[in-house]
Symmetry: C2
Amino acid sequence: MGILAVGSVALDSVKTPFGQEEEVLGGSATYFSTAASYFTDVSIVAVVGEDFPEQHISFLQKLGIETAGIERRPGKTFRWKGEYGFDLNTAKTLDTQLNVFADFLPKLLAEQRKLEFLFLGNIDPDLQRNVLEQMERPKLVACDTMNYWIGNKLDSLRKTLARVDILVINDAETRQLAREANLVRAARVILGWGPRTLIIKRGEHGCLMIDRKSAFGTPAFPLEEVVDPTGAGDSFAGGFLGYLAATRANDQAALRKAVVFGSVMASFNVSEFGPRRLAALTYAEIEARFREFRELTHFEDI
Amino acid sequence: MGILAVGSVALDSVKTPFGQEEEVLGGSATYFSTAASYFTDVSIVAVVGEDFPEQHISFLQKLGIETAGIERRPGKTFRWKGEYGFDLNTAKTLDTQLNVFADFLPKLLAEQRKLEFLFLGNIDPDLQRNVLEQMERPKLVACDTMNYWIGNKLDSLRKTLARVDILVINDAETRQLAREANLVRAARVILGWGPRTLIIKRGEHGCLMIDRKSAFGTPAFPLEEVVDPTGAGDSFAGGFLGYLAATRANDQAALRKAVVFGSVMASFNVSEFGPRRLAALTYAEIEARFREFRELTHFEDI
């Protein structure tokens, strides 16, 4: 058991209406693995530069995350700079410096190839398949992507999608990928390309999971304080896949609970800058919010 | 028992990416009462012009709706013309002709004053209070409003809100009314002004009900075919208040089921132009979709 997470480990500079922070630990692999670490073992494949602070490696290690696969290469670490307005749903990217991430060629350690669960974070779909091919026999593969790859590498992305079990993307990406405005029809198009489950993240509006036979919808947790939405989607994916890996279950009931655990982790993550709040949780807090989600969504039969 | 609904009865010309229709029966009182008619008795207070087709009155009567309070006055009927793009969440108003609606002064019939449930559709908040004052002793008052009244008649609207139990508005209106970007904090501000329950409609993203002690969230029903969203909010309100009036219950469990019945009615309404689909339902179809909502949102405890 245990999850292999491939993605970015980055330094983020983020400004929101509620403050700003420079060069905090970020990246899809960081948020994913921090969230997943509460449920199961996680091992990262990523690349950082010579300037990457050692304290960030320690931060991940203290959560029990395996960091041996984080390669340190000559050059600078991937940096992203973004800003959110009062509508915290969409970030405006101010600057992207790929640095060592531009030449990222994931090379899995021997023990990583044996892992049963794989999260393909939002990277070039060519690299996502490259990672897939290095795995011995993954039991469950989840994948993220973004508008850039849909627009510029659709053929490659389609090849990746043919080989993943679960695609986790947002609603705008779902429509763009399927070229279909109706979300349910868009989901059906994408399910025809390979994934057996599509999870559509809708930010403050919650989440919709669709497969060939059923749909599951849940609102986001209503929060009075949203400080920084960066990493919410990857925190969601970490809680989601973390729960599935921990329970080794794969049925509809488990998938639904996994979606709620994903929503729980995302709801904690947005309450502080960086993965700070996410890293300071207890499992009791996670379970308590899971139960608050039940209280939020429950209604009786007629 | 029974509901008094005050609002517009109009002729709508609507264009969506899926077609267009001219001068179909519309208006807030129409959609509300059509939806509510499946649950309880409804009586309308509204005004139409000399040109209003008699067949539309028959349409409402066939649903068992009391139309004696629809006053016919010299002049033309209220007309609205709007267009929706592929993002079906917001209508672009192309033309509004108030006509006889400009001088609308609701005058309740003797039997209407005795009704126990009141829906104040989206009209001038001065008129909403005028209607309230004509009622003998309403048990439950629900109210809608819109950005125009928030922007132009805030003082009057605040006076109306002080006297209603339940406010049903959309998320943008919630933020505008409270002057607060965070939806949960905005809800708390508005609850401080009078209503004990706030229902925030989020279009395709579902609905959030907030009171001083709890929150209930539900997604919209995922539909493969949305033809015309006109009247979805009033259909929601009709299902919601209709269920509460029919059961005469007012506790949290009943309010939650009422929100789901509202969502059910809205989901049917958007699948055809005008209130056509809404008027052709059976109660068995309504119950079946209620159960589909449970299937859509249910997840097990941990």
